[in-house]
């Protein structure tokens, strides 16, 4: 994979950013969201474009801490979007790909339902502080409503911002806050038991469940914090809250409940394998690995083989009380 950012710097080129926000057309409709402690402002001409994100409603933010917007995202429509001509840097294998546009990155989204023409494009500056989302009217007329931040656009913006700035990662995990023992994080691939764990805890402890599938991790003053996200799993838990962590669990089904401490090098690999690194960006990959290493300097990581019943909850509570 080509290093877009590094290669430009290596060639001594200055990274140019999209025009300042004030030079864009006026966007009277604005809505701010908060994801993992990052403020994202969505700006559009029509209120429909900023209020159509029904899955994100709970993550709207009335006020912004320190008044800082981390991600400024403008929305506009074009009649039809054409395929970007050159400079493809990364093919996701899913519905999007990345192009190097010299002055930033272009993400194109296509669907086999709509043919080759993209239904959405994101033009982002390299540090993801500013971006434009362009939606296709033709695609919308054929397939119905398209919203700017629908999956996976919002997660791409957030994970890329976190990685580029080395601020955190998004992981495949179930995160919950127990009233007595605080935050618990269980990482796992699909089928590892995240939603099962969420349901078990809900039934037995009624915790605040931040998500049963996607958690954002950040470091604040030498402490590891997890944030809930709107991008939930099968059990559909999603809360805009955060909690401090004292350890990380890697879920694995087992005949008995057992915790096994992981050496840090192994733990870095296991957490990385359950994260969403920006594979198109060597700088972002480096930021992701560096963040995981720093996080695991502060908290230990355990493999948690668990039985999918109440005993696993008791085991975690017991281990928490011994910390």
């Amino acid at each position: 994979m080509e290093s877009v950012h590094s290669s430009l710097e290596h060639r001594g080129l200055r990274l140019s950013l999209p025009p300042a926000v004030d030079s864009f057309p006026a966007y009277p409709a604005r809505q701010t969201f908060s994801f993992g402690g990052l403020a994202l402002e969505l700006r559009a001409v029509s209120w429909d474009d900023v209020h159509g994100e029904t899955d994100l409603l709970a993550f709207r933010s009335a006020s912004v801490a320190n008044g800082k917007i981390h991600l400024e995202v403008d929305v506009r429509w074009d009649d039809q979007l054409s395929v970007h001509g050159s400079g493809k840097t990364f093919e996701s294998g899913a519905i999007w790909r990345v192009h190097d546009a010299d002055d930033g990155l272009v993400f194109e989204f296509t669907s086999s339902l709509l043919g080759h023409s993209p239904y959405k494009r994101i033009q982002a500056c390299y540090d993801f502080s500013r971006s434009q989302i362009i939606l296709s009217r033709a695609a919308s007329q054929r397939c119905g409503k398209i919203t700017p931040l629908e999956y996976p656009a919002c997660e791409l913006l957030i994970t890329n911002y976190l990685a580029y700035h080395g601020l955190g990662i998004e992981v495949h995990g179930c995160g919950l806050i127990d009233r007595d023992t605080g935050g618990h994080l269980f990482l796992g691939h699909s089928g590892a038991g995240k939603s099962t764990t969420a349901r078990l805890w809900e039934k037995l402890r009624a915790p605040e469940i931040l998500s049963d599938d996607r958690i954002i991790l950040r470091l604040h003053d030498g402490e590891l914090w997890m944030y809930g996200t709107p991008w939930h799993g099968e059990a559909a838990f999603a809360l805009p809250k955060k909690a401090k962590l004292s350890k990380i669990h890697i879920l694995r089904h087992g005949a008995e409940n057992r915790f096994t401490a992981m050496p840090q090098a192994r733990a870095v690999g296991e957490v990385f394998a359950r994260s969403f690194p920006p594979f198109h960006s060597p700088a972002g990959l480096e930021g992701t690995l560096d963040f995981i290493k720093r996080a695991l300097d502060f908290v230990p990581c355990y493999q948690f083989e668990f039985r999918p019943d109440h005993t696993s909850v008791a085991a975690v509570l017991g281990s928490a009380n011994h910390d």
């Binding site: 669907s111 959405k120 398209i146 629908e150 999956y151 995240k194 690999g269």
Partner: protein, 56 residues
């Protein structure tokens, strides 16, 4: 008869290579659970890319 035993040396553990699985369909955003088994959007009834079928 010698009674004082020399302290045992700490056992040497050679470096090990551990393979950790990285699942592309889970490490890259944009896949939905049904897509991995049924092809892109063939079973996805959402409008365009808006698939929430990702879960554990």
């Amino acid at each position: 008869m010698e009674t004082n035993k020399a302290p045992q040396k700490k056992q040497y553990d050679p470096p090990q290579v551990t393979a950790i699985k990285l699942r592309p369909e889970e490490a890259v955003l944009g896949f939905c659970k049904s897509m991995s088994s049924a092809g892109q959007f063939s079973s996805c009834h959402h409008t365009a890319g808006n698939c929430h079928g990702i879960g554990s």
